[in-house]
């Protein structure tokens, strides 16, 4: 099945091939990932293996469905109906139509002392899909870690929905460590009511083909949202990202940080949008992308959008794309650090801020080991 995913909210020149991405995924012969849940906190509620219809009904009940926007001042928005808008869009919903779902609910004022870990293990050669709805009720404060891994080539797609009630807070961390020529996608929809807070940290390390989508709607007043996404594009890999931060409430604050490195032949497309809707007064949106180019034949495409329908806002985007400067390399070499190790240091430094947010020691150690292995050269001490 070929899906059109990761649409830009407004179109640009078709020749750039940035308006959307094509994604091939065969939904036949699906198997279930092995899921283990650690540190489950007693007050949280977990419902597993919901039928697709039951899961859709739960989404629909949240009242987050997007409506076709009115044409405002000449803007013609791209629109596709979704019960809960996500970054990858309506085609990802269709792909997930037959996938079972899990619902995780944190009751009012629930404050678990430790993060809950969902560890998905994908059998070699398998194709798996999984959906998760996290609802954080009024005043609750929770942390969830999603970890997807395989020991060999496999395919895994996840959809994660986050619904935050008034004053709710969630730290969501997601790490992907799939091996071989694996295929992975993670499609996220977020919705925050008044004074809610969502802090997202993600690392994509391993899969050869990666699609990442997020649409977070800051629907209420005084919401806070932050997203830190790190990736390492290995040789011949393809990474496609589409993150949208939609401001609809007042005095909301959003920050998105994207850091990554591309090795030989790696290809990455990044779409990031700060979308200030009318009446979203007093909001600030900030987006930063840093890419280190480490290999020949890399392809790095970036399109950061700021859409402004409200005067009383502050929006900023910045990008920095390039390789290690000759001056930096020379400095490193004078201290006995060769090019490969200098590059490793730079990538580690770039991703360290995100890796540090992983609340699990063993997963964080695994990330560090993985990064060391990627840059290991023959003759290095183990």
């Amino acid at each position: 099945m070929t899906c059109q995913v990761n649409h830009l909210p407004v179109l640009t020149w078709n020749a750039l091939k940035l308006n959307a991405a094509s994604m091939d995924f065969d939904p036949a012969d699906l198997t279930s990932p092995t899921l283990t849940v650690n540190h489950f906190y007693g007050d949280a509620e977990r419902e597993e293996d919901l039928s697709p219809d039951a899961f859709e009904a739960r989404l629909a009940a949240l009242g987050t469905a997007n409506e076709e926007e009115a044409v405002v001042a000449g803007k013609f928005p791209i629109y596709a109906e979704q019960a809960f808008p996500t970054g990858m869009g309506a085609d990802a919903d269709r792909l997930m139509r037959n996938a079972p779902g899990t619902v995780l609910t944190f009751p009012e004022n629930c404050k678990p002392p430790k993060h809950i870990t969902f560890r998905y293990t994908i059998p070699a050669g398998a194709s798996c899909l999984s959906r998760l709805l996290i609802t954080v009720k009024r005043g609750a404060d929770a942390s969830v870690l999603l970890y997807a891994a395989s020991e060999d080539t496999a395919a895994f797609g996840m959809q994660t929905y986050v619904y935050l009630e008034e004053g709710a807070s969630l730290r969501l961390t997601a790490v992907q460590r799939m091996a071989g020529d694996s295929f992975f996608f993670h499609d996220i929809g977020g919705w925050g009511e008044d004074k809610s807070s969502l802090s997202l940290a993600k690392l994509d390390l391993g899969a050869k083909t990666v699609y990442e989508g997020l649409n977070h709607t800051q629907a209420g007043d005084e919401c806070v949202f932050s997203a830190d996404l790190g990736y390492l594009g290995l040789r011949g890999s393809k990474t496609d990202i589409n993150y949208n931060d939609v401001f609809r409430g007042r005095r909301a604050d959003g920050k998105m940080l994207f850091k990554g490195a591309l090795l030989d032949g790696a290809e990455k497309t990044f779409r990031g949008t700060i979308d200030f809707r009318r009446a979203a007064t007093g909001c600030t949106g900030d987006e930063q992308e840093d890419v280190i180019l480490l290999g020949d034949d890399v392809v790095n495409k970036t399109i950061p959008l700021i859409l402004g329908e409200e005067e009383d806002v502050e929006g900023r985007h910045a990008s920095s794309i390039g390789s290690l400067s000759d001056d930096m390399l020379f400095y490193m070499q004078t201290r006995g650090i060769d090019r490969v190790h200098a590059e490793e240091l730079m990538v580690r430094a770039s991703l360290a801020g995100i890796a540090d947010k992983i609340p699990s020691d063993d997963i964080r150690c695994g990330v560090n080991t993985y990064l060391a292995d990627v840059f290991k050269v023959e003759g290095d001490e183990p």
């Binding site: 803007k75 009511e193 009446a279 890399v298 790095n300 495409k301 005067e311 990008s319």
Partner: protein
């Protein structure tokens, strides 16, 4: 929480303000009535016969007629763009592609018909020529009515003439070699339209090593109602040469659509430099679908300075193709979208040669329901090792009924590149307005001053007279609506 997307309706300013706006715009909005006695007007629409008729009127060589007809075919094959401002209000069946005053091109203002000369006098063109220009071309509707170049500049070998003369005269082969090679009719729908019905425009050749110390200018005036203007500007700056070319345009406002689909092709040879400045002030019934492109050879420099104030809708993205090693491009632009305007502007940079560099600095301002979109692309190809690019775009929203978007794309295909980008959107700070008001400056004037300051990266790149015109346009836009 229920979705509550609001369907906002732009709010009119008070009537007194609109009247003031209209009165002050009269500086650009005056119009002359067309009469059959003084003007030749081709029927509306776009057919092979109309294209043949234009070709006959212009005494085209055979290859140009074939080129026009092929372009028309391409035009019909290419769809309307689906990504920019809507142009469904533009009906080619209601546009006359060719309107010309019944006069030959003159080299003295005294010989230009009185009514046309008056139009250019009101726009200050003859005065500017006397005071600060090396040469002037003045186009009225589809044809040039005046063209002149200073004797000392002509003596240095600089050629500045109308496209029709160049097409059949001494430079015919040079024109044929370069005409629509940089912007082929297959590029997009309105490039194809241009190829089919182009008329007027200027040809400039600056020989090797010649530095033209003061600028040349072409001014385009579209007076006819429901007409299109399709001028073609072709400039070749040879090795080591240097030129500043200024383009100005305006039109009176009608209640039917007018169309401008011009084409600018600039060839900058090795170590040459060309600055191309534009103050665009088309009337607000104009669809401005213009294409501008420069090809820069080794060590060459192209500098674009662009002010976009007019038009109902605009698609305008000057493109620099940095083909030669060490070539360089700069784009400095300001766009002001007021009531009823949807201006989609920006720039494209294509890095092909090694150690090329580009710099984009733009400012967008919107007000009274206007829509301003900054759209750009920076493409660094695999061959462009050592390329450096920087993009800065700032947007200023002056009220809550306008819209401002930034859509910048970057495509890098070599590790040996360094690209930086920064975009900001915001409004005039209350503190800055308060500061100026506390020093006795009225609020409206304070806001206009702040906006002029915001646009200063463009105005400081223009010759004084043009910077003054730009600031006047900003003042007009700030006072109106």
């Amino acid at each position: 929480m229920k979705n509550e997307y609001r369907k906002d309706t732009p709010v009119d300013g008070d009537e007194g303000r609109i009247l003031l706006d209209e009165a002050e715009r009269a500086l650009y909005d005056f119009r002359d009535e067309e009469s059959e006695e003084h003007f030749y007007r081709m029927e509306e629409g776009l057919t092979p016969e109309i294209v043949r008729q234009i070709s006959r009127e212009k005494h085209d060589p055979d290859w140009m007629l074939a080129f026009r007809l092929k372009s028309l075919e391409i035009y019909h094959q290419i769809p309307v763009p689906d990504w920019g401002p809507p142009i469904d209000g533009l009906d080619m069946d209601k546009i006359s592609s060719y309107v010309r005053p019944k006069t030959d091109m003159q080299q003295s203002w005294d010989d230009v018909p009185e009514d046309i000369k008056n139009a250019f006098e009101k726009l200050g063109i003859p005065k500017a020529e006397r005071e600060s220009l090396a040469g002037v071309g003045a186009q009225y509707d589809s044809e040039l009515v005046y063209h002149n170049v200073r004797e000392d500049v002509a003596k240095s070998g600089v050629v500045y003439t109308d496209m029709e003369s160049a097409l059949t005269g001494e430079y015919a082969e040079m024109v044929r070699t370069h005409f629509m090679k940089l912007v082929p009719p297959t590029d997009h729908k309105f490039a194809a339209l241009h190829g089919a019905v182009w008329s007027g425009g200027s040809f400039v050749y600056v020989p090797k090593g010649v530095h033209v110390e003061i600028p040349l200018q072409s001014y385009f005036r579209l007076n006819a109602k429901g007409a299109g203007q399709f001028e073609h500007t072709l400039i070749l700056v040879d090795e080591g040469a240097d030129l500043h070319f200024i383009e100005g345009c305006s039109a009176p406002k009608y209640n039917v659509a007018n169309l401008h689909a011009g084409c600018v092709e600039l060839y900058v040879a090795k170590n040459a430099r060309l600055r191309y400045s534009t103050i665009e002030n088309w009337s607000k019934n104009m669809y401005n679908l213009n294409t501008k492109r420069a090809l820069v050879e080794e060590g060459g420099t192209i500098e674009w300075v662009s002010g976009s104030f007019g038009s109902h809708e605009s698609y305008l993205y000057p493109t620099s193709v940095l083909k030669g090693d060490g070539s360089h491009a700069e784009f400095t632009g300001v766009t002001f979208a007021g009531k009823g305007q949807n201006l989609d502007t920006g720039a494209k940079m294509i890095h092909i040669g090694k150690n090329t560099s580009s710099f984009i600095d733009t400012k967008s301002i919107c007000k009274s329901g206007g829509v301003s979109t900054y759209r750009s692309s920076v493409e660094i190809r695999r061959s462009a090792e050592g390329a450096k690019a920087s993009v800065n775009c700032g947007s200023l929203m002056l009220d809550a009924i306008s819209r401002s978007d930034t859509v910048p794309a970057i495509d890098v295909r070599t590790r040996r590149a360094d690209v930086g980008h920064e975009a900001k959107i915001g409004r005039i700070s209350d503190e800055a307005v308060f500061y100026l008001m506390s020093r006795g400056i009225p609020e409206s004037e304070a806001r206009a001053m702040i906006v002029s300051g915001f646009a200063s990266p463009v105005s400081k790149e223009l010759p004084l007279e043009y910077a003054a015109e730009m600031n006047n346009l900003i003042k007009l836009e700030m006072e109106g609506g």
